[in-house]
């Protein structure tokens, strides 16, 4: 308790309240919703980095639909009405809540000044939508059915999950590293899984796969189906702990965020208490290049640009559970280290790409915490393909602006969404996963 608090406490009449960061109860975020000031730091590119009159926003949903309701500032006000039961669950309300890739741009924007938990509030709104029987969207329910039935997003046969493996890939029965390709790389983007496996092999490290790999549950968690997602989290974490592996390595940004942030969040533990490391291929490759175990020797003549996938950047700060009390002037005890998106994988992809001979890396205008999301993740492309396409087109315009011939990302959701949008435009743009670029240099 501060000295001011001690001396003044009798003169102030501030209520104290128990709060936690638990997304299962929207009430936990009432203070955050009540204190949004409409500065719209959630919407604009951080002003220090504002590039000029073009490419000024970083909020895909707020850029897609101009009403305030589609920006976090509007959603905080709507959230208050939802919590108080003043708004009914209508198709419009569901659209406002779900037409949003939960990319975290609003959260880091707000945490520049106000430290409001915008991202968690948006997640809690979805959990409430499901709890109230209104959410998720029909397309999400289909994904959930697929996962329940065949343990992957697409409803593809479970037994074909390892179909990406080729004869030249060495997989150990047991190893310190478990590689978790995720649904996309297992079924729709085998090139990513193959490239990742070959990169690990090239370093001399060995890796194994999970005994029975299943979907990470990203869509379930992201759309508010927290009970189903929690069951998956328990199973997955237990499986890795039992295996004795030290590292769980992903090549998918969404899987990475699930393992590193959302599993601990759902299980009520800290990322550090998982019992193993969660690592994206980019961290692994960056370290391997630095220690000499990965040699990038082949020239790759590409003028490329890198897209910061949200789930390996601003959404990927480690999780620590917190509960406590909020009191005088809104101060909380015990102290909380806020997740502001500062420890995202910003340097690693750039280190890697710059280490590849022949690569000409040009930066886009909105990068790192200011990157404009591709719009596909966290259930968006399934339920709102037009928003996903809009966001991708916005980003492709930026790629064109900087004159890149190849767009590189670290997430299959980004790759597929950009590829589809570029194809629609008839563009020659090449879209690659970073694993493919690394492999091309080996």
């Amino acid at each position: 308790m501060s000295k001011i608090h001690e001396t003044m406490k009798d003169r102030y009449d501030t209520p104290t309240e128990k709060v936690s960061l638990d997304v299962k109860d929207l009430k936990n975020f009432r203070y955050d919703m009540d204190h949004c000031i409409k500065c719209k730091g959630c919407y604009w590119v951080e002003h220090t980095y504002m590039p000029g009159i073009k490419f000024t926003t970083r909020c895909p949903s707020g850029t897609w639909n101009d009403f305030d309701a589609y920006q976090a500032a509007g959603k905080m006000r709507i959230g208050i009405d939802v919590q108080e039961g003043k708004l009914e669950w209508t198709p419009k309300l569901l659209e406002v809540i779900y037409a949003d890739p939960l990319c975290g741009a609003c959260d880091v924007g707000c945490k520049r000044n106000l430290d409001l938990e915008i991202g968690l509030t948006l997640e809690a709104l979805r959990v409430k939508a499901v709890k109230d029987g209104a959410g998720p969207m029909p397309a999400h329910k289909k994904v959930a059915e697929n996962i329940a039935k065949s343990h992957n997003q697409f409803g593809s046969p479970h037994e074909k999950r390892t179909g990406w493996l080729t004869a030249d890939i060495k997989v150990a029965d047991k190893a310190d590293i478990i590689y978790f390709p995720g649904c996309s790389a297992s079924y729709t983007n085998p090139e990513i899984a193959q490239a990742t496996a070959k990169i690990i092999n090239a370093t001399g490290a060995s890796f194994s796969l999970m005994k029975e790999e299943r979907c990470c549950g990203n869509t379930l968690y992201s759309v508010g189906m927290i009970d189903e997602a929690t069951e998956i989290a328990k199973r997955q974490v237990e499986a890795v702990r039992t295996s004795g592996a030290k590292t769980l390595l992903t090549s998918c940004a969404e899987c990475y965020r699930m393992w590193k942030v959302d599993y601990p969040k759902m299980l009520g533990i800290a990322t550090a208490d998982l019992g193993f490391n969660v690592m994206h291929l980019m961290e692994f490759a960056d370290e391997a290049i630095a220690n000499g175990s990965l040699k990038l020797t082949k020239k790759v003549d590409l003028k490329l640009t890198y897209h910061d996938a949200c789930s390996v950047s601003r959404l990927s700060d480690p999780w620590t559970p917190w509960s406590g009390e909020r009191g005088w002037m809104g101060c909380i005890e015990p102290r909380l280290k806020r997740r502001r998106g500062t420890t995202g994988l910003y340097a690693q992809p750039r280190n890697i790409l710059q280490a590849i001979p022949g690569v000409d890396l040009v930066e886009m205008i909105r990068i790192r915490e200011n990157a404009f999301c591709c719009g596909a993740g966290r259930g968006t492309k399934e339920a709102f393909p037009e928003l996903a396409n809009f966001a991708a087109q916005e980003r492709l315009a930026e790629v064109k602006e900087v004159g890149a011939e190849t767009l590189v990302s670290s997430c299959p959701f980004c790759k597929n969404n950009f590829s589809q949008a570029a194809k629609e435009n008839g563009e020659k743009l090449q879209v690659m996963d970073i694993s493919e670029v690394i492999l091309a240099s080996l």
Partner: protein
């Protein structure tokens, strides 16, 4: 609530269907509070309503059509640029049409005449970056980088960078205004063409109907286009660096530099400010509240209070720090000369330079006003005056005494006297007084304090900026006019006989005082038995 079907249908014919809505979910997002400027206070709770419909025009013609329909059907409307800066830019009547202008983002830079012509959807930071690319700058108002440039310039527009050209209205050139009945008025050189380079224009200068020192929040019409003067800066790039929240512009030290000078007394502060203006050097001279320093240092709210808790009334009273921005407008030599002059001035007043980072975290591009809400959750700049430097310096301490009586609910600020700066090369002194509270406290005293500040200004002879739009007009008008209120109300009724444009401004604060029971004890001035508002309004 929603507006009548026939009105909605008439409005819906103006824009594509996706740009108009009366859906309760869409409307709920336009609520003024509960957070934000003046958050949680009585004015916000009693005077603001959800809109009955929201419409997103794209052009001046769209706006003309919208207001003509509103005028015909006698439906109130409010222009809305970004929604920042609180309850006074939100609907005050049930079933009002909110005209959200964020789609109006036309921007044309005139490289020959060194100005830019913009629509209301343009905010400061993109505008500033376009200026910086060309070696120019615009004064990003204290309202922040995220404010609409037009809204800020007709309401406020002050910042430490006002040192060169102070009065914000002198940066407003050609202008286009849609009157409350839909008639279009073009001012300055826009009246004879598309080029807004010149503001004085033909005939009487009508820019004054939009603002005095501060503006009337759109109640006299909607500005749809404005040409704004761009000021010469210097050619070197200011390079952004860091990861949010720790970002800053790295300054080219030989051309742009902040220097903090500690001086021994308030008199020394005044003297240095005056001499800097007299010497016509520097791009900014400002004395910021001491707690802003703690905000800048703190990693979060709790750490702010840890730092602030180390201060005492004595340490605050004896802390005299001037921040000076030096700009080598023409050359490195010029900047060296300015720095030498500056050092001479501070040597004379017994000041000394303190180590200062070669970066700009605020003011030049970011003007990070959102940080004001960190400490307590609620904030307002309750007043600002623009007068002589000594007058500005006297304003803050006077306020601090009054504020002490209202603490709590205000934060314990150890008597900090607020923010002072020199403007217009020292011809003006600016003082802004800021208050902070937790909106979960009883906020009635905040409302009372607001009005007491007006009385204090009248009593002490401070030349306040906030007359009609933020204070009771019948309190301030007779004191500053003596017929300012009559004149303003005649103008309002002439331009807007039905009072459809953002009613009940400019007497909204008067209406609030009448409505709020807890304001009775501070109401000591005369008002007419009935306000001169058409029946059914206000």
């Amino acid at each position: 609530m929603a507006i009548k079907k026939d009105v909605f249908q008439a409005l819906a014919a103006i824009v594509d269907p996706q740009y108009i809505s009366d859906d309760p979910v869409i409307l709920a997002a336009y609520r003024s509070g509960p957070g934000g400027y003046e958050s949680g206070n009585g004015y916000e709770r009693m005077m603001t309503k959800l809109p009955g419909a929201v419409i997103l025009p794209r052009t001046t013609e769209d706006i003309q059509k919208i207001v003509k329909i509103c005028h015909r059907y006698n439906v109130a409307y409010v222009p809305y640029a970004t929604g920042f800066y609180g309850p006074r830019s939100h609907p005050h009547e049930e079933n009002e049409v909110l005209i959200d202008m964020k789609r109006m983002k036309d921007f044309a830079f005139d490289d020959d005449h060194w100005c830019a012509t913009i629509q209301p959807g343009i905010v400061y930071s993109p505008f500033q970056e376009e200026c910086l690319k060309r070696g120019g700058y615009v004064v990003v108002g204290g309202g922040g980088a995220q404010t609409s440039v037009i809204a800020n310039l007709i309401c406020d527009g002050w910042s430490p960078l006002s040192m060169r050209i102070g009065l914000p209205h002198r940066r407003i050139l050609g202008l286009e205004l849609v009157l409350p009945d839909g008639e279009l008025v073009k001012m300055g050189s826009l009246s004879i063409g598309d080029d807004g380079f010149w503001g004085e224009g033909i005939g009487p200068d009508l820019r004054g109907i939009l603002r005095g020192y501060t503006g009337l929040l759109g109640c006299m019409g909607i500005v749809t286009k404005m040409a704004i003067k761009v000021l010469p800066f210097q050619p070197e790039k200011l390079v952004p660096g860091g990861i949010s929240p720790n970002t800053a512009l790295q300054l080219p030290e030989k051309r742009v530099k902040w220097i903090n000078y500690q001086v021994p007394s308030k008199q020394a502060e005044q003297q240095a400010m005056y001499q800097i203006g007299r010497a016509e050097i520097a791009g900014a001279v400002t004395k910021v509240p001491v707690f802003w320093r703690a905000i800048a240092k703190a990693e979060g709210k709790e750490e702010f209070w840890d730092l602030w808790n180390k201060e005492t009334p004595e340490s605050v009273e004896n802390f005299h720090l001037l921040r000076v921005l030096l700009i080598g407008y023409t050359s490195e030599e010029q900047m060296r000369y300015d720095e030498n002059v500056l050092n001479d001035i501070f040597a004379e007043v017994g000041g000394r330079a303190r180590p200062t980072k070669p970066s700009d975290e605020s003011w030049i591009k970011n003007a990070d006003s959102a940080g004001m809400w960190l400490m307590c959750g609620s904030y307002v700049s309750v007043d600002y005056i623009i007068e002589s430097i000594p007058h500005a310096e006297a304003h803050g301490p006077c306020y601090a005494d009054l504020k002490a009586k209202y603490t709590p609910p205000f934060m314990p600020d150890h008597g900090d006297p607020g923010w002072t700066m020199g403007c217009e090369a020292g011809h003006q002194g600016y003082s802004e007084f800021l208050i902070y509270w937790d909106q979960r406290e009883d906020t009635n005293p905040v409302d009372q304090f607001y009005v007491e500040t007006s009385k204090m200004n009248i009593r002490e002879g401070f030349y306040t900026s906030l007359l009609g739009s933020h204070q009771p007009l019948y309190l301030t008008g007779p004191a500053y006019g003596p017929n300012y209120h009559d004149w303003l109300l005649k103008l309002k009724s002439t331009l807007d006989p039905k009072w459809v444009c953002h009613p009940p401004l400019p007497i909204s604060h008067d209406v609030f005082v009448e409505k709020a029971e807890w304001m009775k004890s501070v109401k000591t001035w005369e008002t007419p038995e009935e306000f001169p508002i058409p029946k059914g309004r206000g």
